[in-house]
């Protein structure tokens, strides 16, 4: 039998009120990519945080290279050869690549031992990056790099610690397909160096490309561990959610009506060029494209968060002037933003305040005071309607799971009673169960006659939910496809197209 480099045995970890890990065991081998899957809250991240010493386990054993170890903190983990690439990278952006890699263990000038040897640092960094075939100048400031390149730097850093175990927590969540490909080739290099890679992800298609083994956790318990060859998407989903999701995309056919929103020739210098499309009543318009294609920027322009230099927006055939978001809200547009934490939730405020914050105007009594009773009853109603799971409406939103936070944000916009709802990556980073619930909400809204624009980077979501699909590339629309004409390859072709003002290539 093959030797395990790392074994975690019966790991238990509790947090106040929650038993996050309930005796989980996990083994992995050298030169193998081991995917760790499960819904949010299943315990994947907690298990890895036990391993790198962020949350040491309450009980259970960790064995590395046949020695029993305890890991009190991430620094010790690194010294033992366990490195973690976090989902949210946290580099010192104002400093250079090489300073980031050698942070805390800078090579020193000989003799004195107090001054940093920048020359040696540069040489060592260059060597490291060469070896990994990463083409980045060690002296460039990290803030100049894309997220993908920052990740490469993190991986290089892990290698520089001679890590035997490298953990990656949802590394592809903000990468373009090309960058994902590059990351995968990097992972293959790690494999070739006999490193054990632990790969946390929500994305099914990725694990079939890159993983050798898959372990599924649910509610802090081991469910299955299998070689990749012995599983398929259905069995994985069943293992993750503990029930069969009869339909991943519960799209209902809605009655598509007249043109609700018409956009003519929108320009935003340097970002958007000649954008025209329309959106009908009851329609879900999917918006596809690579990261950086200008999809979010277009939505921000429609909503008044960006200024357009030319073009017009018509609602029900009437030209409207949108300069600030409150104009858009008044015109019946709602905008669920892409980055929940950055632009969506107000973490330190209650679920209730987060629900009503876009709609305060409608709760005014005597023009100044808020009608708290109506706020309470409306929030209750939406909590039940959208099945928001929260101990109370006064709970701080930061204590809810990602899926439930997202539902609160959906409630926020539904309360403004919009005719047009813009959803930017509505299911990013939330678990399979909550995803299906949000998809159900979206399709129901369309059936009620709302017009929906849904930006998504997930092909299955775009294909499964949309009536029509608008594809963007480099700030322009390259195609608007009917549901029946769209498939993954066609969309990708248009998404990668250089728009030559030639919409149907």
């Amino acid at each position: 039998m093959e030797e395990y480099i790392l074994e975690m045995k019966n790991i238990v970890r509790t947090f106040p009120g929650v038993r996050a890990l309930n005796g989980v065991s996990f083994q992995t081998k050298r030169g193998s990519v081991h995917a760790l899957m499960g819904e949010n809250g299943a315990g994947k991240s907690t298990l890895m945080k036990c391993l790198v010493g962020i949350n040491p386990p309450d009980s259970g054993e960790i064995w590395l290279k046949r020695e029993k170890i305890t890991i009190p903190n991430p620094h010790e983990a690194l010294k033992l050869g366990i490195a973690m690439i976090y989902q949210e990278l946290n580099p010192v952006v104002e400093r250079s690549v090489m300073e980031n890699i050698w942070l805390g263990r800078e090579p020193m000038l000989r003799g004195l031992g107090v001054l940093v040897d920048h020359k040696a640092m540069y040489e060592q960094t260059r060597q490291l990056l060469n070896e990994l075939e990463i083409d980045i100048d060690p002296k460039i400031k990290v803030k100049e790099l894309s997220v993908a390149k920052m990740q490469m730097i993190e991986i290089a850093k892990a290698i520089s610690y001679n890590a035997d175990v490298v953990i990656m927590d949802e590394p592809t969540s903000s990468l373009t397909p090309n960058e994902v490909e590059h990351l995968f080739s990097m992972i293959r290099k790690l494999k070739a160096r006999n490193v054990a890679v632990i790969y946390i992800t929500h994305k099914m298609e990725e694990i079939f490309t890159i993983a050798d083994e898959v372990t599924v956790l649910r509610d802090g318990n081991n469910i299955t561990t299998n070689p990749i060859a012995e599983i398929n998407i259905d069995s994985l989903i069943t293992a993750m959610v503990g029930r069969r999701l009869t339909e991943m995309f519960p799209k209902m056919e809605s009655k598509i009506g007249d043109v609700k929103l018409a956009v003519h020739n929108i320009e935003v210098p340097g970002l958007l060029h000649d954008i025209s499309f329309d959106l009908r009543k009851g329609e879900i318009l999917g918006v596809a494209g690579l990261v950086g294609a200008g999809r979010t920027e277009l939505m921000e322009t429609l909503f008044g968060l960006r200024r357009k230099s030319a073009g017009e927006i018509l609602i029900d055939g009437k030209k409207i002037d949108i300069r600030v978001p409150s104009d858009a809200i008044r015109a019946g547009i709602g905008f669920l933003t892409e980055d929940r934490r950055l632009n969506g939730i107000i973490p330190v405020l209650s679920v209730k305040v987060n629900t009503i914050v876009a709609n305060l105007r409608n709760y005014l009594k005597y023009g100044f005071f808020l009608n708290l009773r109506k706020i309470q009853s409306d929030c209750e109603e939406y909590k039940n309607r959208l099945k928001i799971r929260t101990p109370s409406l006064d709970t701080l939103i930061q204590n809810l799971s990602g899926g439930n936070q997202q539902k609160v944000l959906v409630a926020r916009w539904l309360l403004t009673n919009p005719d047009i709802l813009i959803l930017d990556e509505p299911t990013r980073g939330i678990d399979v169960g909550a995803k299906a619930e949000i998809h159900t909400i979206i399709t129901k809204l369309a059936c009620e006659g709302k017009s929906i624009i849904m930006v998504s980077s997930e092909m299955p979501e775009i294909l499964g939910m949309s009536d029509r699909i608008l594809v963007m590339s480099r700030g322009q629309i390259t195609a608007i496809l009917d549901r029946k004409d769209a498939d993954q390859e066609t969309i990708m072709r248009y998404a990668a197209a250089k728009a030559n003002n030639n919409k149907v290539a």
Partner: protein, 327 residues
């Protein structure tokens, strides 16, 4: 087990008030002069001005800003209001030819001055996007300079009794200044909890991007927030001037720091979105009782400063730990 954690929660939630009560109890035992009506009213009189200041500053802190100019606004308000109500028999008046004005004119002029400085702060922060610390640092120095220019650094004495009564009169045993402080506190409480503007303040401090996308007019609200702070500072300026019976161009020096300290001790978070009026009042009372109690116990005023500093830092450490534990 569950009960214990409830006790823990209770202590966490009301820690600041528990500290206040413990201080009162301990001081009552240590000094017989402490728990007397007159002494407690003295504490309230002394702290009313800074308390109003702290409430105004808290609006800016909750919105994730800061207002360093409030002390200077106290000074500026002081000399402006005082210069309009000097006794005509006094020969060295700032405005020698000023006709006899009703005192309300002086009050309104003072309030207007503070509000204008506040709005300027807000406009600078909102429309030029300079950090609140810098904007209000600038206006703090400017307002201080204006107060000195107006008076040539001399006091503005001999105020008419109709004006002085604001600071010195009382209803029964309760002085007007304390009543005004209570009114400001109640109104601020209502604004923060029951109005749209109040919710906007919390939302802007909690996540300015989310506030923007929710259609909140962040810039206009910022102007209003700093105007509130300036307005409160000028109320404090008038009360303190009337009590001191003289306009002084250095009257409010360092008051901004006391106000920020009180708001901070009272649980107003500099990371934005968190803060309550009862907390701020507890904060200012803790500082006031500490001053008073240490004085009664005959402890050196220099040591008092050391203790004050430790309490401020300790309060924030406690708050951070409390918030971290909730996560």
């Amino acid at each position: 087990m569950a009960q214990q954690s409830n006790v823990g929660k209770f202590i966490n939630k009301y820690a600041i008030f528990i500290v206040l009560i413990v201080m009162v109890v301990v001081l009552s035992f240590l000094s017989p002069a402490f728990l007397t009506t007159q002494n407690l009213i003295n504490v309230l009189i002394t702290e009313s001005g800074r308390g109003i200041l702290a409430i105004g500053v808290a609006f800016t802190i909750i919105s994730r800003g800061i207002d360093l100019s409030v002390g200077s606004i106290v000074s500026l308000t002081s000399v402006i209001a005082a210069s309009l109500v000097q006794d005509p028999s006094y020969s060295a008046r700032i405005f020698p030819n000023l006709p006899l004005l009703p005192p309300i004119v002086a009050v309104l002029a003072g309030l207007a001055a503070g509000t204008v400085v506040g709005m300027t702060n807000g406009a600078l922060i909102a429309y030029t996007a300079i950090p609140p610390f810098i904007a209000t640092l600038g206006s703090m120095i400017i307002a201080r300079g204006l107060a000195l220019i107006l008076t040539n650094a001399y006091p503005v004495p001999m105020l008419r009794p109709e004006f002085k009564i604001i600071g010195q009169g009382s209803v029964g045993t309760i002085p007007y200044v304390v009543i005004v402080f209570a009114l400001v506190a109640v109104i601020a409480y209502i604004i923060l909890n029951y109005t749209r503007f109040g919710k906007n303040v919390y939302a802007i401090g909690g996540n300015v991007n989310a506030a923007k996308t929710s259609g909140i007019k962040v810039k206009k609200n910022l102007v209003a927030i700093y105007a509130v702070s300036g307005f409160c500072a000028s109320i404090a300026g008038i009360l303190i001037t009337a009590r001191a019976a003289s306009g002084i161009a250095t009257l409010g020096n360092n008051y901004e720091l006391d106000a920020i300290a009180a708001a901070t001790i009272g649980g107003t978070s500099h990371t934005g979105g968190i803060g309550t009026v009862p907390g701020i009042i507890a904060g200012i009372l803790i500082l006031g009782i500490l001053n008073n109690g240490l004085l009664l116990l005959g402890i050196s005023p220099y040591l008092q400063q050391v203790i004050k500093g430790i309490i401020i830092v300790g309060a924030v450490v406690f708050d951070m730990r409390k918030n971290a534990r909730q996560k």
